[in-house]
């Protein structure tokens, strides 16, 4: 388009809210479908399977879907390749390897084959060591990325938490019971 013939249209209208609301409806996404077609940037299929298990242990399915259904593994995969610097990415991938090494050492089999009880035991151990041990700092990163990925997902923000958009008014003092949970 020739800029010199371009027009700037300055349209002022109060219709912005309704337009945007319909836009949001049109953009609504279904993250469980995405899990099937997703192509990982950082992880192998085996690593991804382990990661799915880990994020679901951190934020499991309750009365709302957990981190796996929310696609947190995909979020972490994309962030590590597109946002993180090389040391962080490599540290994370080798941290995943450490999980299976520890699992083999302590329970004699890979993490995915452990009972949930043993899986939790191992993660608790990693969390308690998280200030010093190498595997521990991996756990801190895994946990914080899982938290961020989950609560900013559609499931996390709008099913687990209360997502409010344009309320039209502001009320600075209402009973907590009217909302009953944390806002996004």
């Amino acid at each position: 388009m020739d800029r010199r013939k371009a027009l700037i249209n300055m349209s002022l209208s109060a219709a912005g809210i309704s337009l945007s609301a319909s836009l949001i409806a049109a953009l609504g996404s279904c993250e469980s479908k995405k899990q099937l077609s997703y192509k990982a940037l950082t992880f192998s299929a085996e690593e991804d399977a382990l990661l799915q298990e880990l994020v679901e242990l951190i934020i499991p399915t309750t009365d709302t879907p957990g981190a796996k259904a929310a696609g947190v593994n995909q979020y972490i995969d994309r962030v590590l390749s597109m946002v993180s610097d090389a040391p962080e990415k490599e540290g994370f991938v080798s941290g995943l390897e450490t999980i299976d090494i520890l699992s083999q050492k302590q329970f004699g089999q890979t993490f995915l084959k452990l009972s949930q009880e043993d899986q939790i035991k191992l993660l608790q151990q990693l969390e308690s060591e998280s200030q010093t041990a190498k595997g521990g700092s991996f756990f801190s990163l895994l946990k914080s990325m899982t938290i961020y990925g989950y609560y900013t997902s559609e499931i996390g923000a709008s099913q687990e938490l209360m997502y409010v958009h344009a309320t039209g008014t502001y009320d600075g003092d209402i009973p907590y019971s009217e909302v009953g949970k944390n806002y996004y």
Partner: protein, 572 residues
């Protein structure tokens, strides 16, 4: 009924009555005032066109609709390597910030130069807080023997504050304070239950301290086609209902409606042309950023509103035989006395109780605690001059509490689901004194892609600011403790004291009474070039701690009125 105002870009005439450089807060006002007074006006904007509503491409998007949830990629962090230090750049508004890689500058000392090169400038992303400055501020330099005296007083600008506030639409509360003058405000937004509690407790213990809802250019009542705020929250993405003031929602449509406005985007101003015979500016030389063609436009009057640092860059680069150091710069003050508000004085605490209460709606502004130091009487401090104000808000701790919680699994998830304690967070904005050493200048050899010398920045906070920072943290921590807060942290985050971090750059073409020590007179008119006006932050003689944009609006409208009267009486 929607107003459709369409105006064409391109096919420009070579000559106008007025040229305005920049289309942000100040440029938009200059365009509106000059066109409404009948001047054919060309607005030169170095960035791309932005269309109100249509180009607010992230407005009302949910977090999960952004790839990477809005985080910048490695490549983007490189392109914005200097601007990312402000800490809140993400994909929700990245398209309204300029790439440092495309507009390079030199940091002799650390300096953040966050720019918004587009039609509308930084008025799209600005903080929208609007506080008048008072005679406490206008008189301070003279009383203390610091810098030079402001050539104006509050009485000179009061009616212009009234005028611009009426049009922009300012919501807020009248407090009757001499040092934070009231205006004709729309009804204030609401403080929440805990902010009201804090306000009451503070006033009981500190009668001279106020906690009030911020005065802001966000509507609570309609103005024409601009609707009141709908409480979606992130104004900086753009607002289709025009509920906050920006050039795009407010001044440029008004200017366009006169039929006297031409906006030319992609027009990088190289310099202002000086005519030694008339001893006036005869026009402006631009480089078309798309074609790289150099073009000159003529006008009777030139308003420089490119943002403080960019305006000074243009003025310094406008060299002639008469003005080898920049147009109108015989005094040599151009580029000096650079100021910004120093930030990074961050105080956070828990407010016990109120666990059965919460809020509804995303209020786009917080509270404000006006300056309470050095305003006379017991408030005067031996250790430093001037003062600071606080912005802040109280809120129930949200899901981010999860980052600090131990454990994982079902119990963890259920705990995060419950709103946390009430917290109060606030951050101080401190005044910086005008120092000659703190300056920006042109690089002697390095240029950008348009052949314009890069800006070199050399500025820092000094002892007065450092002592102020300590008092700011101490006094607020003490106050919060006395009103019953717990878990108080008061941190000096040095990154916030890096000049430019506040994005309130001021000075470098200051107003004053004496042409030997200032660049502009009391009408924002260059002492040495009578048809040249600078009305953005560059004109500031000191940097009162109040957020400055409303002062630029008032000074711009006032200067435009003066310029047109001078033109009509044949003086320009």
């Amino acid at each position: 009924m929607p107003i459709n105002t369409t105006f064409q870009i391109g096919e420009q005439a070579a000559t106008y009555d007025a040229i305005v450089i920049g289309s942000g807060v100040s440029g938009g006002w200059a365009a509106k005032e000059l066109t409404e007074k009948g001047l054919k006006t060309l607005v030169l904007e170095r960035g791309r066109p932005v269309e109100h509503r249509k180009d607010y491409i992230t407005e009302h998007k949910a977090p999960w609709e952004f790839d990477l949830r809005g985080q910048l990629t490695k490549e983007e962090k490189k392109e914005y390597s200097q601007a990312v230090r402000i800490g809140y750049l993400d994909k929700t508004a990245l398209h309204f910030f300029s790439k440092d890689s495309e507009s390079p500058y030199v940091e002799e000392k650390p300096f953040v130069w966050a720019r918004g090169y587009q039609v509308g400038g930084k008025s799209i992303t600005w903080g929208r807080y609007t506080f008048r400055i008072s005679d406490l501020d206008f008189e301070a330099n003279l009383k203390e023997g610091v810098g030079v005296d402001w050539p104006i007083r509050y009485k000179d600008i009061a009616q212009w504050y009234d005028y611009v506030e009426q049009f922009a639409g300012i919501s807020g509360e009248k407090l009757g304070l001499d040092h934070l003058p009231d205006g004709n405000f729309q009804k204030p937004m609401e403080l929440n239950v805990v902010e009201k509690h804090l306000r009451k407790r503070i006033r009981e213990l500190y009668p001279e301290r106020y906690l009030t809802i911020a005065r802001a250019a966000v509507l609570t009542e309609p103005i024409g086609e601009r609707a009141p705020c709908h409480y979606c929250g992130p104004c900086w993405r753009g607002c289709s209902t025009g509920s906050y003031f920006s050039s795009l929602s407010s001044t440029l449509p008004a200017a366009a409606a006169t039929g006297n406005l031409t906006i030319r985007p992609f027009s990088v101003v190289h310099s202002i042309i000086y005519d030694p015979e008339t001893r006036k500016a005869s026009g402006v030389r631009i480089v078309d950023s798309e074609t790289k063609e150099t073009i000159e436009f003529k006008a009777k009057v030139v308003f420089v509103c490119a943002s403080a640092m960019a305006s000074t860059q243009i003025l310094l680069n406008s060299k002639s035989e008469e003005f080898p150091d920049g147009i109108g710069n015989t005094s040599g003050v151009l580029g000096h006395y650079l100021m910004d508000h120093h930030l990074g004085m961050d105080v956070n605490a828990t407010v016990p109780g109120f666990l059965d209460r919460t809020t509804r709606g995303n209020r786009p502004i917080g509270f404000y605690i006006p300056r309470y130091r050095n305003i006379g009487g017991d408030s005067d401090m031996p250790g430093f001059s001037r003062g600071y104000g606080f912005e802040g808000s109280a809120y129930r701790e949200g899901w981010s509490q999860a980052f600090g919680m131990e454990g994982f699994g079902v119990d963890f998830k259920n705990k995060v689901k419950e709103a946390g304690e009430w917290r109060v967070g606030m951050w101080g904005f401190g005044e910086t004194l005008p120092y000659y050493d703190n300056h920006a200048r042109l690089h002697p050899t390095e240029t950008d892609e348009f052949g314009i010398p890069k800006m070199v920045f050399n500025a820092e906070i000094k002892d007065n600011e450092k002592r102020m920072r300590q008092d700011c943290l101490d006094s607020m921590a003490e106050m919060l403790e006395n009103v019953g807060c717990t878990n108080i942290t008061a941190e000096d985050n040095a990154a916030g004291a890096v000049p430019g971090f506040g994005i309130h750059e001021m000075g470098t073409a200051r107003m004053g009474r004496d042409p030997e020590t200032s660049f502009l007179n009391g009408n924002n008119q260059a002492h040495e070039v009578p048809n040249l006006f600078v009305t953005d932050g560059a004109c500031m003689t000191s940097s009162p701690c109040q957020n400055p944009s409303i002062t630029y609006m008032a000074l711009t409208a006032r200067a435009a009125d003066f310029a047109v009267k001078q033109l009509k009486s044949g003086n320009l």
